[in-house]
Symmetry: C2
Subunit: 294 residues, 2 copies
């Protein structure tokens, strides 16, 4: 039997199609066994007892933690991984842009070539090899680079997080793709920055809190590292007048790793796949794991 699924607070056409193509049937909330929720947590009404599963549209769960705790017995899934390719694409773009001085050239009004490094021939540390990290590694592989992947487990030839201290002076560049948890807060601070190489670029597409912003600002001003390309910041949004706006060694993109125009497409793909899995009794993609904080 087709699972009875409610989409709310509104039901955009592309998600209706995704649910139907996944084998589901659209119903009102009262009759639903599953909910695809594309609104804020506050807007989600109390769920009828029939609801066993809620699919969220975001990859992170920060605003949802309380609501999920208060709703035991219901499985929540996120869109974690659905946008991983887009985020990895931005990360690679930021890495090349940083290494190649695009931020300075974009601001230039005259022809003034500078020497630069290249991604090719360098060692790139990918911190956090979840969905985004894996998509990034795939995109880095053709670039003649050595990749150091840091993971919680240290499996599959990756570096376990306990040994992360070894990489700061070893890699040429860093891409931060790890989840924001209490353990990863200020993962990169002054002690880490000071052992990095002078040409090092740091890319952060995860969460601003993983980098100690004050320490970073000082490291950039002192030319301790090459630069930082940040899609996420702390604080976020980065306030007007913040020194990172003015640094010639920083490139800020305002949390645009998943542009709205492609987010819809990627969310629809995920909804369709999870509805199919639900109908088939298979494991759902990206179940929320509150004990690990994501």
């Amino acid at each position: 039997m087709a699972p009875a699924i409610h989409i709310g607070p509104e039901a955009p056409e592309h998600l209706v199609r995704a649910v139907q193509e996944g084998g589901g049937e659209l119903v009102e909330l009262d009759a639903a066994e599953a909910v695809v929720w594309v609104g804020d947590p506050d807007a989600l009404p109390e769920l009828p007892a029939s609801v066993k599963w809620v699919q969220l549209q975001s990859a992170g769960i920060e605003p949802w933690v309380e609501r999920i705790r208060a709703t035991p017995g219901v499985k929540f899934t996120t869109a974690a991984g659905a946008y991983a390719g887009q985020v990895a694409e931005l990360a690679l773009g930021l890495l090349i842009a940083g290494i190649r001085n695009f931020n300075q050239y974009a601001r230039a009004w005259s022809w003034d070539p500078q020497d630069s490094g290249t991604l090719s021939g360098s060692t790139v540390a990918v911190i956090g090899a979840g969905g985004i990290g894996r998509e990034l590694i795939k995109r880095l592989e053709p670039h003649d680079v050595k990749i150091l992947a840091v993971t919680r487990s240290g499996r599959d030839g990756t570096i376990p997080v306990e040994r992360i201290g070894e990489i700061w002076g070893q890699a040429d560049h860093f891409v931060v793709c790890a989840p924001a948890t209490e353990d990863t807060r200020h993962l990169i601070g002054a002690p880490e920055l000071w052992v990095m190489k002078p040409h090092t670029w740091i890319v952060n597409i995860a969460r601003g809190s993983l980098i100690d912003t004050e320490a970073l600002v000082q490291a950039l001003a002192s030319r301790i590292i090459g630069g930082a390309a940040l899609d996420v910041t702390d604080p976020e949004p980065l306030p007007n007048g913040h020194p990172l706006w003015a640094s010639p060694h920083a490139l800020i993109t305002p949390h645009v790793a998943n542009p709205p125009s492609t987010m819809a497409r990627d969310l629809a793909r995920r909804v369709q796949e999870n509805v199919r899995r639900y109908a088939a009794g298979e494991e759902l993609l990206a179940p929320v794991n509150l004990t690990q904080g994501y």
Copy 2:
């Protein structure tokens, strides 16, 4: 016997090592059968009759054409292809940077997210699938894109140049990697620009003359296309006050695809390989072909 090779006008250490590791012996010009020339054409003295081969350091031969014509019986080789990976890396970086609005974000002083496209899911035309084009295609492949490669021959599933008219309205983005010849001058002009999609980015890492700059400036001002990311321009250097500097839809890098710091490494690799081939009587890499203009 080790081939007798002269390096001039000076002999930098990394090239001396490259010649020796390729199996050659360093000699004065008078005793040379081959020359590695890292200076301008004007600085190259008349060659003794013993010289059979000259290795140049550049990938293009524009400044060398007359000298090569005037020196029949000597084989010239360029460094074409030696820097292809670096150039392809820059091209991919410029493509993502353009599609993702980096040029506007780099100039921003406040947090102002905009929607954008993504490379993922798009169709990218690679015009000219020589060394750079092939290196670029390798780097594009993991990005979930459809690639249209345009070549002279149309072999191996590529689109022959006679049918290039089909691609202007078909691809989302274009990367120009074709050699500068009389045939490719203004390959992209007003007629081509006007059939492109409104979100299209054009990347040029070949030569400025392949694009009609005036037509491009008008297309950008009229929002006919999304933008242009140019490592080469016409005129070059792009003069101060040129409208491309001020366009929010243009990103200019000042012909920095091969940064000096890695050019040395890549040239040394090529010199070593060609000396090895010369010593072994094998075909040399990148012989000059004046009839095809490169």
